[in-house]
């Protein structure tokens, strides 16, 4: 009888303690597809499934969807220090900053300086920039009398930027690099003929 009670107390106490299971470790290691596969607890499965969806959206650069899904995860009954809640918040804050940056880079830019092999030349024109509402890093660049006299460019180019808001686009025997820095946009054409750079400043409205 005495031993039964001791065993009972031990069982109750072990129930009170947090069990560092494999599922918990996988959650902490951000292996959410494994959690979905192995977890028994319905809430763990649901939270991990949402994290998989969140990461798919994040990897696709669908940042508005990331914010929406992260908010849904925050509504789950998870402790404030739960690894899933923390990771979802981290992703939400990260993409919110990128969405803000993309908005800041939208606008009209005008050629301020143009150089060929560090020598200035007469370049002019404007570029109107707008970012896609779904794919955060996909932007439309509308060229407006851009270039040099006699060869102005008046078309629209759709470009996917990298997360640092730069893009390198190949063209025949060369490449052109686009880079946003603060309120400027720099285009660098590199080819067998040499290196041509346009620096455009954002026109404040």
């Amino acid at each position: 009888m005495k031993y039964t009670w001791i065993v009972l107390i031990c069982l109750i106490l072990s129930g009170c303690m947090e069990n560092p299971s494999n599922v918990r470790t996988e959650m902490e290691n951000a292996a959410y597809t494994q959690v979905v596969e192995r977890a028994d607890d319905e809430q763990d499965i649901q939270a991990a499934q949402m994290m998989v969806e969140l990461e798919q959206q994040f990897a696709s650069y669908h940042f508005k969807e990331v914010v929406r899904t992260a908010r849904e995860i925050e509504q789950f009954d998870l402790t404030p220090d739960h690894p899933i809640r923390k990771r979802a918040q981290l992703m939400k804050h990260t993409v919110q900053e990128k969405i803000k940056q993309a908005h800041q880079f939208e606008g009209t830019y005008e050629v301020e300086r143009s150089t060929f092999e560090n020598e200035p030349f007469e370049g002019s024109g404007r570029i109107h920039v707008s970012f896609d509402s779904r794919d955060t890093f996909v932007a439309s660049l509308e060229f407006d009398h851009f270039g040099t006299a006699g060869s102005y460019r008046n078309d629209t180019e759709v470009i996917r930027f990298e997360p640092d808001f730069s893009a390198r686009i190949p063209f025949s025997e060369g490449s052109v690099t686009y880079r946003f820095v603060r309120s400027t946009l720099r285009l660098t054409f590199e080819g067998p003929g040499g290196k041509q750079t346009y620096q455009l400043d954002e026109i404040k409205t």
């Binding site: 009670w5 951000a30 597809t33 596969e37 994040f58 990298e162």
Partner: protein, 227 residues
């Protein structure tokens, strides 16, 4: 032990008379405390258990409150660009049974592979060696061969002097079974012909495995999405 009140001979429990002097055992001093203590023991233990439960509940509640107030005061953290962008090459990452890839590592691995696809359309069996193409870092040579066949449409539409580029990559249906990962993507590649942009889209099914210590694509099924 009880003794005979007359001669002092030790008495056994069941004796009614003294074995030596035959003096009857009149009033046996039975331990009165014993039965009562055995009956009260479960009650005491219950009280102890109750006390432990109440104390641990109070402790849990207090520490929970403390941790939540800590989180509120923590400054907003953001993910380092190098940890989620394609700055670091995913095929170089090594893993083990104790340090498996995160689910995002797998997605990033596939996204980086897609950036090597445009170069694949320039591959010539006669002039090129597989090892010089970045794609082979992500997959087995058998899958490399299958990709060369699957990208026929993109090869046809692309300008010979102007390679295509990745436009968008969407991830879907990501799941895993131990060390094997399955996912689907919707990939759009952009190519230019006579100053006009053309887009080629594929539904792609990937199977990725942890091969020794790194990720490797072991199967790709690529289907063109007709406009």
């Amino acid at each position: 032990m009880e003794r005979c009140s007359l001669c002092g001979t030790p008495l056994r429990y069941e004796d009614d008379v003294c074995s030596y002097c035959q003096h009857p055992v009149i009033a046996r001093k039975r331990p009165e405390t014993e039965p009562s203590s055995s009956s009260s023991r479960p009650l005491v233990l219950c009280l102890i258990v109750l006390f432990i439960l109440v104390t641990s509940s109070i402790f849990w509640y207090v520490t929970k409150d403390a941790s939540s107030s800590e989180v509120v005061s923590t400054p907003i953290e953001k993910w380092n660009l190098s940890e989620w962008s394609d700055e670091q090459l995913a095929y170089n990452q090594t893993y083990s049974k104790h340090e498996l890839p995160t689910s995002y590592d797998v997605l990033r691995f596939v996204r980086q592979y897609t950036s090597t696809v445009p170069e694949l359309i320039t591959f010539s069996k006669r002039d090129d060696s597989i090892e010089t193409f970045a794609s082979i870092q992500y997959m087995s040579s058998r899958v490399f061969e299958s990709e060369l066949h699957s990208l026929a449409t993109l090869r046809k539409k692309a300008n010979v002097t102007l390679p295509p580029r990745v436009h968008t990559v969407e991830f879907h249906d990501f799941s895993s079974n131990g060390s094997t990962y399955d996912l689907r993507t919707l990939e759009t590649y952009q190519t230019t012909q006579e100053n006009e942009s053309l887009f080629v889209t594929y539904h792609v099914k990937y199977r990725i495995q942890l091969h020794t210590d790194h990720l490797q694509i072991t199967q790709i099924t690529r289907t063109e999405v007709k406009a």
